[in-house]
């Protein structure tokens, strides 16, 4: 590792509209978000790559007791996305119903559906959300 923080690099790149992950030189797997080893095989032979931002929404819900830092955003959708490159990621979901449970159930029966990454500032930080 160089003295450069991969976390700092990741958040800086979000500010420029880029979503970074890593690709493994040994097993070929993608990891997201970027850390210091491959999340599949543990290899340290990884390179930082730009992710497509494409994915599939597997499931989503809305927490009744959200973390304190997100209280002002409640109710919001929180979902499980399978990225096109393979990794699973939990994050906020835009463009879905969060109050009417009948509508949520009707939509649930259509899952998984394609979603697209949307960088958004939430609680003072740029994060990767996904939009239906």
């Amino acid at each position: 590792m160089s003295g450069e923080s991969i976390v700092r690099t990741f958040y800086a790149a979000l500010g420029e509209g880029k979503i970074l992950g890593t690709k493994c030189g040994e097993c070929g797997s993608y990891s997201f978000p970027p850390k210091t080893a491959c999340t599949e095989c543990g290899s340290r032979d990884i390179e930082v790559v730009e992710m497509s931002g494409d994915g599939e929404l597997q499931f989503y819900s809305s927490g009744g007791l959200p973390p304190l830092r997100f209280a002002d955003y409640a109710p919001y959708a929180y979902g499980l996305v399978k990225l096109k490159e393979g990794p699973m990621w939990l994050t906020m979901i835009k463009g879905v119903e969060v109050v009417d449970h009948d509508k949520m159930e009707a939509f649930f029966t259509t899952l998984p559906v394609a979603v697209k990454a949307k960088i958004a500032e939430v609680a003072g930080t740029n994060i990767v959300t996904f939009e239906v």
């Binding site: 990741f10 499931f59 819900s61 927490g63 009744g64 007791l65 929180y78 990621w89 939430v122 990767v128």
Partner: protein
């Protein structure tokens, strides 16, 4: 490299557990400080084993929530209270699986030949925290408790992205189960209701459980005669749709302990030693794996522990799984091979998972009924398994006294520990 056989086997010869509840109000633990809470469980375990502090060679103490206990260095903070001053001791934690992991740690310490008698203790005091005039404590804010509990989750990425356990560990496996096995969400709700009927009925049969009312009694207390109507009422809102509040853990205060000795000496201390036949662990950073109904972090330790113990799923008489979200009674019973994949829900619908059923699971009421005292919960689960295996579980005794029990705990977020326990003869 790893080996499946230790040089020497080990056995649990004494168990202890406090009442699980709230140190500000629950009889039995009301008014204690955290040290005294731990001591209560530890001395019960010593009494159960017939050993004295002088007989203990080393001690391992688990505790997770330092922010509410106002404690780290549990070995020094508690060694004198326990009568273990100047003995080898350490503080360890694997979050909510801590005192399940402790069984494997003790087995290895004994298996290596270094020490004979090990005391494992777990303690967490999370519903309140100390103030400046000991031993007084004041209630802990629930939101603040979760903020510090989330220090166990990935703070660099996952937490800023909205990390929330109720959807992640409650709603998504519930939705995934419905989707995979063609059940409607109404059917899932019926499964969760019936599971909860069993959970609370079991809790009422365990005097040390946090929950004191079965579901019909709770419903009647607010003037609703039908528990199903109560289940669907304003009294049971969604924690994260379609997961209801009653399907979630009850965080609480509590302590647990057990004494482990070499298997070949265990008969000196008890007529019915409970052998630690196998154990395995796995760590994983995340609240989602590729298959939401079969996480590697659970599957691998089940497989590893069974292999070490030389058992197959069909051998299991009693299963304890980490049901901090109750859907995991179903999901993990299937991962464990205790219930058939895609069919396990029937056992809950038919209420066959109580102590009078043919597939007993978490007979103390689990993390909702008995309650969830983080670092003490694994030891509470082992306490229940040992009591059942010794035929000492009172009103909740399983008719066919278990010979093989499997205890699973998932530490936030995530560490899975699986321990296989066996009764001789």
């Amino acid at each position: 490299m790893s080996q499946l056989r230790l040089n020497r086997g080990s056995s649990i010869v004494g168990v202890g557990c406090t009442e699980f509840g709230n140190m500000l109000e629950t009889p039995g633990i009301k008014g204690l400080c955290t040290e005294e809470l731990a001591v209560k469980a530890a001395f019960e375990a010593l009494d159960d084993s017939g050993l004295e502090p002088k007989d203990i060679d080393a001690f391992f103490i688990g505790g997770v929530q330092m922010s509410t206990a106002h404690m780290f260095a549990h070995y020094s903070r508690m060694c004198d209270w326990l009568g273990l001053q100047r003995k080898p001791g350490l503080h360890f934690e694997t979050a909510c699986s801590t005192t399940n992991t402790g069984a494997g740690l003790a087995a290895m310490a004994i298996g290596s030949g270094r020490w004979d008698n090990i005391l494992v203790v777990g303690v967490d005091s999370i519903l309140s925290h100390p103030v400046d005039n000991p031993p007084e404590r004041v209630p802990q804010d629930a939101g603040e408790l979760w903020t510090t509990t989330d220090y166990g989750a990935d703070q660099e990425y996952a937490v800023p992205h909205g990390w929330d356990i109720a959807p992640g560990y409650g709603a998504f496996p519930t939705l995934a189960y419905a989707q995979r096995y063609g059940l409607t969400l109404a059917q899932m709700d019926e499964i969760m209701f019936n599971m909860h009927m069993t959970v609370r009925r079991q809790a009422v049969l365990e005097p040390k459980a946090f929950i004191k009312q079965d579901l019909p009694t709770l419903a009647a207390s607010v003037g609703i005669p039908d528990p199903w109507e109560f289940w669907n009422s304003q009294y049971n809102p969604y924690a994260a749709w379609p997961t209801r509040a009653l399907s979630c853990l009850n965080p609480c205060d509590g302590a647990s302990a057990y004494v482990v000795t070499p298997a070949d000496k265990a008969k000196q201390y008890t007529d019915t030693p409970i052998d630690i036949l196998g154990f395995d662990w796995a760590a994983y950073n995340g609240l989602a794996d590729k298959d939401p109904l079969n996480w590697d972090v659970d599957r691998l330790p089940f497989e590893g522990a069974y292999k070490m113990a030389g058992i197959a799923p069909a051998d299991i008489d009693y299963l304890s799984v980490h049901d901090c979200m109750q859907i995991y009674q179903l999901v993990l019973a299937e991962v464990a091979g205790y219930l058939e994949k895609g069919q396990g829900y029937k056992a809950f619908l038919e209420r066959r998972t109580g102590s009078d059923g043919d597939k007993p699971i978490c007979t103390h009421g689990g993390k909702h009924g008995k309650g969830h005292a983080f670092g003490a919960s694994g030891g509470s689960d082992i306490y229940e398994a040992v009591k059942q295996m010794k035929g000492a579980a009172g009103a909740r005794q399983i008719a066919k006294q278990p010979a093989i029990s499997v205890v699973h705990n998932a530490g936030y977020c995530m560490h899975t520990a699986v321990t296989v326990l066996g009764r001789r003869d």
